[in-house]
């Protein structure tokens, strides 16, 4: 679960007001308070630490610039999550657009002629099959394989500990949509992870 909040709600509200007035030290305290939660979320969404850092930074910068528009209709933390979520989804979509598509059977062409594609074997080596590291990698991969809408809800609920209501606000979707996406995400994740467990590729630590 995400780190427990250290500042009280009224502390956060006071810091938001001071930040709105241009007090960057106050904003620095807000960054300190939320950086790990937002980074953890973005990192799970993107599975790339460098991109996660950039996106998290951008989320805070945008939050600062948009503070004049923040009227407190939602809590500061859901508002911040929402900015981060939009940015993370943008990155996911850009990745999709820039990923080249090609047939695995089609040979590669080069100046020296054609040659077969060499696809790295994603099966884990016997030595590392049961290691914690490999298990975690497999879980991360399974999360990444979820469509982004399901992934978002899954991470926010299961790993960030957000409530259904907060997630609905963060993603701007009805409560029922949050629940159905979570249901589908769990089912899909169960399907892909249990295949690996049954194949003996990963272990469940009891």
């Amino acid at each position: 679960m995400a780190k427990a909040r250290e500042l009280s709600q009224s502390d956060v509200e006071a810091l938001v007001e001071r930040s709105k007035a241009g007090d960057r030290r106050a904003f620095g305290l807000l960054v300190d308070e939320y950086k790990d939660r937002i980074y953890n979320y973005v990192s799970r969404m993107l599975n790339d630490p460098h991109e996660a850092e950039d996106v998290t930074q951008e989320a805070f910068l945008r939050a600062y610039r948009s503070l004049p528009r923040f009227r407190g209709a939602s809590s500061f933390h859901t508002w911040l999550y929402r900015i981060a979520s939009n940015l993370a989804i943008d990155v996911v979509r850009k990745r999709k657009r820039s990923e080249p598509t090609y047939s695995l059977d089609e040979p590669l062409e080069s100046e020296d002629g054609e040659y077969d594609r060499e696809i790295p074997d994603s099966n884990l080596s016997p030595e590392s099959r049961t290691s914690t590291r490999e298990t975690r990698l497999a879980v991360r991969r399974a999360i990444m394989d979820l469509p982004e809408k399901l992934r978002d809800v899954m991470i926010l609920y299961e790993l960030q500990g957000e409530t259904y209501e907060d997630i609905a606000e963060i993603l701007d979707v009805p409560l029922g949509t949050v629940k159905s996406r979570l249901f589908n995400a769990r089912n899909r994740l169960k399907g892909s992870l249990m295949e690996l467990v049954q194949a003996g590729e990963i272990e469940v630590e009891q």
């Binding site: 904003f27 980074y39 953890n40 799970r44 910068l61 879980v139 169960k190």
Partner: protein
């Protein structure tokens, strides 16, 4: 109760058998398939929650503040209005340029109107442009008031919510 319904409830409670209704619990006692399903869900949950927390890199806050510092000191009034008019996704120059353009158009419009104020406008003009009072000559105070209202920006509530696009109504009279 059908296996399908039981398995659906199991997904909702992540395979936990503690929160299940008596009917579902009874079904599980006699159904090996659904018991296996519950176990798989519990294992999936365990795997998921075994992921460690990831923390922002050292010096994260300092670099955010540094980037804010590089962006310059406090917001100018033009930028503040720009933030309200243009979605924050747009670069700062675009927000400032847009507000500047709107203001320039407002001033130009006002100047043109003043230049034409001694001519009687036709009905089409009256419908689409600044309505002109029937008198061709106005008191200075009236003119000042009209110009003031002509250049007023009405900043309304955001369209959707705090993340929504700010809407600026340009009022013309």
């Amino acid at each position: 109760m059908t296996c399908e319904k039981v398995q659906s409830e199991l997904v909702t409670c992540w395979g936990s058998t503690e929160q299940l209704s008596v009917t579902v619990a009874e079904h599980l006692d006699g159904c090996e398939t659904c018991r296996a399903e519950a176990l798989m869900l519990q294992r999936t949950r365990l795997l998921l929650t075994s992921l460690p927390e990831e923390e922002a890199p050292d010096g994260f806050t300092a670099s955010v503040l540094e980037r804010l510092e590089q962006e310059g000191p406090a917001r100018s009034w033009l930028e503040s209005i720009g933030n309200l008019v243009i979605p924050v996704r747009q670069p700062q120059w675009a927000r400032v340029a847009t507000v500047g353009l709107v203001l320039a158009l407002a001033v130009a419009g006002g100047a043109m109107w003043m230049g034409q104020s001694n001519q009687l406008p036709d009905e089409a003009q009256l419908a689409t442009t600044v309505p002109v009072p029937s008198q061709t000559l106005m008191e200075n105070a009236e003119l000042e008031e009209l110009l003031r209202r002509h250049q007023t920006f009405e900043v309304t509530q955001p369209l959707a919510d705090d993340m929504g696009v700010g809407l600026v109504m340009y009022t013309s009279y």
